[in-house]
Symmetry: C2
Subunit: 423 residues, 2 copies
C-alpha cells in the first residue's frame, strides 16, 4: 500500500482518484455482436457459445430437469445457507415497498403514486472462476417483491454445457421465470432486442466483465434501461484507535481478492494503526488461495493517515466508496455524517462480507464515485412510480385560476383552454 | 389525424411507433463545446452567449438585485398563481420523503436505508418562445425537499441580457441557490465539469432542445448522472361513450401546441367519438395562437378505434404514454390496469394541464416509451438511499455459518476469513 500522512486537502482528489478506464475500443468490438444477435436471434447465441464458451448448446433455455438435478447436487449445508440469506434479503427488501398514499393538495384535487413492477427485467450473472449465486438472490428477490411479471436470467454455460447448480438453485427459489445459457455481450443483446428464446426486457441488471459493461452502456441508446454504470469493486475502511488490525486486514483482503483492479482504501487516525494492519496483511495474505489477485490489488492501494475523524469523514465523502466500514467507536453516530457511500458497515462486528451475502442489504452498489448520485439496487430499481391525479368539478374550479394564469404567462393558450372548456 | 379502426394486435407496434430520432451527427457538434467549456470555463460561456444568444454578458451569475427587480415586474395575479402551484407541488412531494426504518433481519443483524440529498444538483431551464417557470418549480421544489445542499440553475439569457422575471421569481421561492445565465450544450458542460462561476454538480435535470439532450447523454460518460433520457412530449387520451368531445379536443390541442414533433394519440371505443372530437379539433384549432405547431403535430397523429376497453388498455400499456387521460367512467378502477404510463389523469375534470402546472404531481415524465422502465421525477430522483447494517457479536455468530458457507462455495476464502477472524 502507498501511505500518505496528513496530505493537504487540495491533494486528496489526486490521491483517491480511481484509475481511468479506456473504453474507446469497446464500441467497435461490441457493435457487430449486438447486430448479429438482433438479426439472427438464437442462432447467434448458439454460435457465440461455441466460439467464446467452447460449448455446443442444444437448448438455450434451462429445463426443469436441469433445475431439479441442481438441487440434488448441492450439499444441504449450502442450501440451508442460501435459504437463510434468502430470508434476510427478502425481509429487508420487502420493507421497501411503498403503499400508495392519497394526498389532497387542495380541496377536490387528489394526487398519489402507484408502484408497478417493471413488466420484463433481465438479470445477467457472470460465469468465470466464481459462480455468483449470491448475485442471483440480490437481483431476483427484489424483482419478485416488486411484482415484475417476467424475470429472465442469462448466464454463460460451463464447459459441460450446464449452468452451475448453485446458480440454478438460487434462481429457482428467488422467482426467476426463465434461465438462458448465454453470456457476454451477446446475452445483453438478447435481453435488449429479444430472440426466439429470450424475451425482450425493459431493464437489465447485473455485473460483468468489460464487454458486458460496454454492451449494457450501448443498449441504452435503443431504449433499454440499466441498473447503473459499473466499475471495479471497492472498500474503504475508516479506523480509529478502537479498531482491531486483524479484522481490518481481513476486510481489506476480502475486497482485494476480487481481482487485480479491486480498489482498497484505508483511512486511519494514526500511523500506528496502518503499521499494525500491514503486519496482519502480510500474514493473512500468505494463506489465501487468491493471493495473487489480492496482492496485486493491495500494491495499487492507498492508506491515508489523517489527524482527526472530522477530516477522515470529509475524505470519505469526497471518495464516495461503494462499501464503507466504520471500524470506530460510536460508529452509528459517525455514520450520520456520511453523505456519499453505497453501503455502510458499522463497528467491529460488521465485516463487508455479511452484506455481500446475507445481512439483508443489497450487494449491487455504486462504484467509481457514482455513490455521489446513485443508490444501490433495491425494490425501487424494479418498480416505476406512476403518478395519478383526480379532480372533482369543484376541485377544477378551485385550481382553474392558477393553471390559466400560469399557462397564459408561458404563452400556452391551449393549456389554459383545456381548463376553460370544462368550467 | 390518421384513423385506424380495429387494427389487428400484430399491427399495433407499427401504428404506435414513435418517429426515430437521428442523433448520429450530434456528437461531432457537441464534443468541441464540451471541450471548450472544460478547458476555458467562464470565458467559453461568455463567448457562447455572444455567439448563440447574441448577448454580451457582464456577469454569469444573476445578482440579488436582478431577482428583487423580477419580483416587482410580475403581476400579483401571476405571483399568487405561482405560489399556489408551489404549495400543491410542495405538499405532494414532501409526502415522498421516506424515514429510515430499522429492520432486524435476524437476531443481532439490523439493516436500514438512510436517504441523503444529492449534494450538488443542476437544473436546466430552456429559453425560447415560452419561459418555462413551471419547470423551475417542478425541479427545484423536490431538490429542496430532498435536502440538496447546492441547487444550481442554468438558463439562457434573453435578448436584453436578463433572465425572464417569472423564472427568477420561481427560482427564488423554490430554494435555488445559484442562477447562471448560460444555455444550450455549454450550460450542460458547465454543470458537468464546473467553471469559475458554476459549481460542478453530480446530477443534471431538465428539458431542452436536441443539443441540450445530446449534451446530457454525453456527459454521463464523465460520471455525471442525468434525470432520464428525453424525447418529444406526448399525450394519450382513452375515451369511452361517457367522454365529452370538447374536452378531449382541448386536451389533444394542449399537447399538440408544444411543437411540431408533439405526439398525440386518441384511443376510443367507437368511431363516433373520434368523429365528434375531429369536429371540435377543427373549431378550437382556429382560435389558437400556436395553431401552426398544433396543426402540424395533429396531422402526424393517430386515432384508433378498438371495440372494448380491455383492448384499449392493452394498447395503452404497449404505447406507454408520458401522459394518459382516462376520459371514461370508473376511471380510477380502470387506472389499476395501467402498468406503463408517466402520469395518469382520471375522469372528465382532470385535464393534463392541471398536472403540467399545479395539481402537485411532477411534470418531468418519461417520454418515448421510457415509462416501461422509468418513473417521472420525484423526491426520489434527488436522494440517494444509503444502506446501513450493524451486527452485534452475537448477530455475527448467528449469521456466520451462512456467510462462510456461501463465500467458500463462491471460491472467495478471504470473504469467509473476514467473518472467521471475528468469531
Amino acid at each position: 500500500m502507498n501511505i500518505y500522512t496528513n496530505p493537504p486537502q487540495q491533494d486528496w482528489a489526486k490521491i483517491i482518484a480511481r484509475p481511468a478506464m479506456d473504453t474507446s475500443q469497446m464500441q467497435a468490438i461490441i457493435s457487430p455482436i449486438l447486430d448479429n444477435v438482433k438479426n439472427n436471434g438464437d442462432k447467434a447465441l448458439v454460435d457465440y457459445a461455441s466460439k467464446f464458451d467452447n460449448v455446443i448448446i442444444d437448448s438455450l433455455s434451462v429445463s426443469i430437469t436441469e433445475i431439479d438435478e441442481a438441487e440434488q447436487l448441492l450439499s444441504s449445508g449450502l442450501k440451508t445457507a442460501i435459504q437463510q440469506a434468502y430470508n434476510n434479503i427478502y425481509k429487508f427488501h420487502s420493507s421497501q415497498l411503498q403503499p400508495a398514499e392519497k394526498i389532497e393538495t387542495m380541496p377536490g384535487v387528489v394526487c398519489w403514486r402507484k408502484s408497478v413492477g417493471i413488466n420484463k427485467v433481465g438479470i445477467y450473472i457472470p460465469g468465470g472462476t466464481a459462480p455468483l449465486f449470491s448475485t442471483v438472490l440480490m437481483l431476483a428477490i427484489p424483482a419478485d417483491i416488486a411484482g415484475c411479471e417476467q424475470i429472465i436470467l442469462c448466464t454463460p454455460p460451463q464447459a459441460n454445457g450446464k449452468v452451475h447448480p448453485a446458480v440454478l438453485y438460487a434462481a429457482s427459489i428467488s422467482g426467476v421465470h426463465t434461465i438462458i445459457k448465454a453470456g457476454g455481450a451477446q446475452a445483453i443483446a438478447a435481453l435488449a432486442f429479444g430472440t426466439e428464446s429470450v424475451p425482450k426486457v425493459y431493464k437489465i441488471f447485473g455485473p460483468g466483465n468489460q464487454y458486458v459493461t460496454a454492451a449494457k452502456q450501448m443498449v441504452q441508446q435503443f431504449g433499454t434501461a440499466i441498473d447503473m454504470p459499473a466499475g471495479p469493486s471497492e472498500v474503504c475502511v475508516l479506523a480509529d484507535e478502537s479498531s482491531n488490525p486483524t479484522y481490518i486486514a481481513a476486510d481489506l483482503l476480502s475486497q482485494a481478492e476480487h481481482g487485480n483492479d479491486s480498489q482498497v482504501l484505508l483511512v486511519a487516525t494514526s500511523q500506528e494503526i496502518i503499521s499494525n494492519v500491514q503486519l496482519q496483511l502480510t500474514e493473512q495474505l500468505a494463506t489465501l488461495p487468491r493471493a495473487a489477485f489480492a496482492g496485486n490489488a493491495l500494491s495499487n492501494s492507498n492508506a491515508i493517515v489523517l489527524s482527526n475523524l472530522e477530516q477522515a469523514i470529509a475524505l470519505v465523502n469526497e471518495y464516495a466508496p461503494e462499501h464503507l466500514i466504520l471500524a470506530t467507536e460510536n460508529a452509528e453516530e459517525l455514520s450520520t455524517k456520511i453523505v456519499n457511500a453505497g453501503s455502510i458497515f458499522l463497528g467491529h462486528y460488521t465485516p463487508e462480507s455479511v452484506g455481500d451475502y446475507a445481512s439483508g442489504t443489497n450487494h449491487t452498489l455504486p462504484t467509481n464515485g457514482y455513490a455521489r448520485a446513485y443508490s444501490g439496487v433495491s425494490v425501487d430499481s424494479f418498480v416505476k412510480k406512476i403518478t395519478v391525479q383526480q379532480l372533482t368539478h369543484q376541485g377544477l374550479q378551485n385550481i382553474a385560476h392558477t393553471v390559466i394564469a400560469m399557462a397564459e404567462a408561458e404563452g400556452l393558450q391551449a393549456h389554459a383552454n383545456a381548463v376553460k372548456v370544462r368550467l
